[in-house]
Every structure is written in C-alpha cells, then in structure tokens.
C-alpha cells in the first residue's frame, strides 16, 4: 500500500478525533456518580433517569420543533440562493453571496449578540421563534454549500429541452429540476436539522427562558451529580446525529450520481 507513514498518521489522527466521542458510552454505562477513572462497573440507570427529568423533556420538545422548522426554512432559502447563484448572472452577485455565506466564518457570539440587541430593541419577545431565526442564519450557508453542488451538476440541456417543449420556467423547475436535486434537498434537510439540534450559542442568547437540549446540557455541567445522565443523553444524541449524517451522505452521493456529476467528496 502506498503512503505507509501517511496512512498510519491519518489513522492515529482519526482515533484522536473520535477519542472524546468514544469516551461517552464508557461513562454513560459507568456505575459511578463521578465522571472519571477508574471505572466502577456496568449500569443502565443513567439512561432510565432521563425519564424523570421534566426539564429535559421540555428541552427535547423545543429542540425538535426548532430543528424541524430550521431545516425546512434554511433549505428553502438555500434552494433559492443555490439556484440563483449557479444558474444566473446578476449584479452584485459576489457581495450578496458573501453576505449570505458570512455566518460560516463570523464568530457566532457576535451574530448572536447583534441579533439579541435588535430583537430587544424592536420588542420581539425572546423565545422559540427568535432561536429559529438565529439557527436559520447559521444553517443557510451549509444548505447552500450542499445544494450548490446538486444544482451545479445539472445538465442544462434538459432544462432547454423542457422550454422547447413549451414548459414555463416554473413547471420546468417543478417537473425537471426539483426531482433531480431532490437527493441534495434531503441531504440539506438532514444536515441543517443536525446542526440546529446541536447549536448552543444562538439558543443560549436568544432563547430567553426557553431551554433547548444544548442549553439544558450546558446548565447541567454545573452540577457534578447530573453529569452521568448528560453522558447518557450525549450518547443517544451522537448515535442520532451519526445516523442522520450517514443518511444525508447517502443522499448527497446519490444526488451527484443522478445528475451525472463527479463526486469530489465532502459536504463543504
């Protein structure tokens, strides 16, 4: 095999990358109230204890509502922007796309506090809606990155054939383009859902008294006795995220294969 040293390095790198996540289940099943070594024996009580935490249930309900709304809105906004930027030439395109993609690099706390002062300034009460607005801002650039790949690999002659056969731009979009980019759309929905479910800063600043799963997790870190339950919760969330991301990756690849593009790999 070529690149022996590089292969070894890359494998060690991956192991280190996954080390914290691999520790999660160890502590989730560890029969000790203190999260440290040495381990004390096997238990599932931290998982069953989750059933007795009403705040956790509220947080779960809020997070699911926010993540579903965010996924739908940011994917819709992403479809429009990805389609516009891959298909049309228009004035100030670079500046407009730059602004839309800016949250990808802007420190999140700055976006969060600036939204906070605007919401408070014009009297919008903090709650689930304000968290959703913040999450859509963060997730839309990711949706655009995924969807642009789908739109870019579209064969233009299909669209032109539809026009020649008398279809309007709208019906062409509905009948030809949408089915072809559908895998990209599903991939975008799943990834924005995952990002929203895991997002902390926006939810922390814009949530008021409403709690999402990450806000709940953060608040529990102050109480050492509740950390094992958080390890159990974290284990379940990691499993859920990995499943969703794996499905998203499957659809992303299928989408690129469907439109005849070359798979260069990676979401970004």
């Amino acid at each position: 095999m070529k690149g022996g040293w590089f292969r070894g390095y890359a494998i060690v790198y991956l192991l280190v990358l996954y080390a914290p996540i691999m520790l999660l289940p160890i502590f989730a099943f560890n029969d000790s109230a203190i999260v440290s070594f040495p381990l004390a024996g096997f238990t599932t009580k931290w998982f069953t204890q989750m059933a007795d935490e009403p705040t956790l249930h509220d947080a779960l309900r809020n997070s699911l509502f926010i993540a579903v709304s965010t996924a739908v809105i940011s994917t819709l906004l992403g479809i429009l922007a990805a389609r516009a930027s891959t298909r049309f030439v228009f004035p100030a395109k670079g500046a407009i796309m730059g602004l839309i993609m800016l949250p990808l690099v802007l420190p999140e706390i700055i976006a969060a506090v600036s939204l906070l002062v605007v919401f408070l300034g014009i009297g919008i009460p903090l709650g689930l809606i304000t968290i959703i607005l913040g999450h859509v801002l963060v997730c839309t650039p990711f949706a655009i990155a995924i969807l642009s790949a789908s739109f870019q690999s579209l064969d233009k002659s299909l669209e032109e054939a539809a026009y020649d056969l008398g279809e309007t731009p709208l019906s062409t979009f509905w009948l030809i383009i949408l089915p072809l980019v559908m895998p990209g759309i599903i991939s975008s929905l799943l990834i924005t859902f995952t990002i929203s479910l895991d997002e902390f800063i926006m939810a922390f600043f814009l949530g008021g008294t409403n709690v999402t799963l990450p806000v709940y997790i953060f608040s529990q870190f102050r109480f050492p006795q509740s950390v094992p339950v958080i390890m159990a919760l974290g284990t379940l969330l990691v499993l859920l995220s990995i499943t969703l991301l794996a499905i998203a990756e499957y659809f992303r690849r299928r989408g690129i294969a469907k439109t005849g593009g070359k798979n260069t790999g990676g979401f970004l």
Binding site: P20, I21, F200, S241, G266
Partner: protein
C-alpha cells in the same frame, strides 16, 4: 461563478432578463441576510458609539466605549443622571488582556490545526483510492457536527485530575501523582479548540490538493527533482490557497468561542467571548458589550488582512 451569459436568450424569450430573474430568485435569502445579519451588525456598530442608559440606549455620540472613561446613566427623580463610571475597551486593562489572549489563542489553535491537518489532507488526496475518498472525508467531518458541548466537556475528563491522561501515566508508572497543569489553562483551551476545528482545516487543503494536475509532479520528478523537492517546490505552493483558506476558516471563528474557555479554561483562561457575554447579559451594558464585540471583529479583520497581504503571491495562481 460559471459563465452563463450565453443562456440569456432563453429566459429573455420568456420576457425576463437574466439579471432580473437571478435577483428575484435570490431576494428572499438576501433580504433575510440583510435583516438578520447586516442590520444587526450595523446596529451594534451604532450602539458602540452611544451611551448606556437605564435599560435603554441614549443616542448621543461618544467614543468613550472604545477609548477613555464613560458614564452609565440612571433614572433619578425622573431625570437621567450620570451614575457609574467605566473604562472603554482600549482603556481597560482587562479587556486588553482578553483581546490579546483571544488573538494569541486563536493563532496557536490555527497553527496547530493547519500543521496537523495538512498530512491528513495530503494522504486522502494522494494515497486514497477515488472511491474511498468520500468515506474518509465523511469520517473526518462527522465529529464536527455532533455534540459540540459534550465533546468540549469530555476534554475536561481527558485532561482532569483523575482523567484519562493522568490515569494512564499513573498506571504505567511514569508519574507518582496526577499532573494538575493539564486542565484549566490556556493550553487546555488550545487543545480543545484545535480538536473541534480539525475538519474545517482539512477540507479546504484537500480541495486545493485535488486540483493539482498530477502531471506537474511527474514532470518535477522526470526532471530529476527528489520527491521532497517536488513536494516543496510544486505541491506546497499549489496547495497554498487551500492552506490560506484553512487558516482563515479556523482563525476567524475561534476568536469568538464562548463554550471552550468557559468549560476548560478555568478562572485564568477567560477569553473575549466571556467578556462580551458578561457585558451584555450580566452588566446589561449594551454599548460597552457592542464596543468589545466590534473591537474583536476589527482586530480579527486586521490580522486576517495582514495575513492575506503576506501570502498574496500564492493566491494569484500559477498561470
């Protein structure tokens, strides 16, 4: 992006110009970004030049939130009167310390992340078969999107007094007592952040390496260059655009990280994001909080521009 000018005819036939269709299509997303990103950023820039009143902002221009001493106003007997005094960002030693420390931490994180990431990107681009590449990239990106808070917290467990590292070292017998210098310091912040941002550094470098025409490398070796010299004189310069975007994509967001210093930094390891949170949420001093946020953004922008200026010769492209 791509040259679509020739296609104007089709949409033109349907009664709308290319530019109009594009602008119409992008307008919902663009308006969303204008209202929820551009306008709020403009607001905090404006707030940073105003005075702090009792639960309100007093629209009176002043620069003391940046330099000098400001007064907070309070309502006393129905009249706004100067109450508390506070120092502006660049006159306050604490704010200065935190800004400098945040920039330093981000630079270290960026250096560590990019240097460690490069060989991985190189391996995936040059030594992994085409059909296995996306699997590798998928494995690298997964941790980035899962359980950010829990991952940061687990670094506390790894580096802690009874943590993984101390237990292992005690077990082997290298140390007799747990090392306390691992956790709750700037080093712990750098380790945790470098770990969190690893995928962000790998992807841009990988994309740049993928674009390199493999025949350039063969040409280099045919002309008698050693493998190392080919790497140094051909591969590395061509990969520089990727290295530069990796540097910026790690450096800029890490300056504002709030969770990591909060969880693993300890009392001496607070960063500028913690100060911003304090000023907004605890002190309710929006003008000062805004001035701190704007200063952080400004410094990041200046450092990034200097970096881009220094590396500009790699961005012009080889052709």
């Amino acid at each position: 992006m791509s040259g679509n000018k020739s296609s104007g005819g089709r949409s033109g036939q349907l009664g709308r110009s290319e530019a109009k269709s594009g602008l119409l299509l992008i307008s919902p997303t663009a308006i969303f970004a204008l209202l929820l990103l551009a306008a709020p950023l403009a607001t905090i820039i404006a707030y940073s030049f105003m005075a702090d009143g009792y639960l309100t902002i007093i629209p009176q221009f002043q620069i003391c939130n940046y330099i000098g001493t400001c007064s907070s106003y309070e309502m006393k007997d129905g009249v706004l009167t100067a109450a508390k005094e506070y120092k502006g960002v660049f006159s306050d030693p604490l704010a200065q310390t935190l800004l400098v420390r945040s920039l330093g931490v981000s630079m270290m994180v960026t250096l560590v992340t990019v240097v460690l990431a490069f060989p991985v990107a190189y391996f995936v681009s040059f030594h992994v078969g085409p059909d296995r590449k996306s699997l590798w990239l998928f494995l690298i990106t997964i941790p980035f999107w899962t359980s950010y808070l829990v991952r940061v917290f687990l670094w506390k467990v790894i580096l802690g007094y009874n943590g993984v590292i101390n237990s292992a070292l005690l077990g082997i017998g290298i140390i007799d007592e747990p090392i306390t210098a691992l956790n709750y310091n700037v080093g712990a912040i750098i380790t945790t952040l470098a770990h969190a941002y690893a995928p962000f550094a790998i992807l841009p470098i990988f994309v740049a390496l993928e674009k390199i025409d493999r025949s350039f490398l063969e040409a280099g070796q045919d002309l008698g260059e050693s493998a190392f010299n080919t790497f140094r004189r051909v591969t590395l310069p061509l990969a520089m655009p990727g290295v530069i975007s990796a540097t910026l994509i790690v450096f800029i967001p890490t300056v504002g990280d709030y969770v990591t210093p909060n969880l693993v930094g300890g009392p001496e390891g607070k960063l500028v994001a913690n100060l911003i949170q304090l000023q907004y949420m605890k002190l309710d001093n929006y003008p000062l909080g805004s001035a701190t946020a704007v200063s952080a953004m400004l410094l990041v922008a200046i450092v990034s521009l200097i970096f881009l200026f220094l590396t500009r010769r790699y961005l012009r492209g080889p052709k």
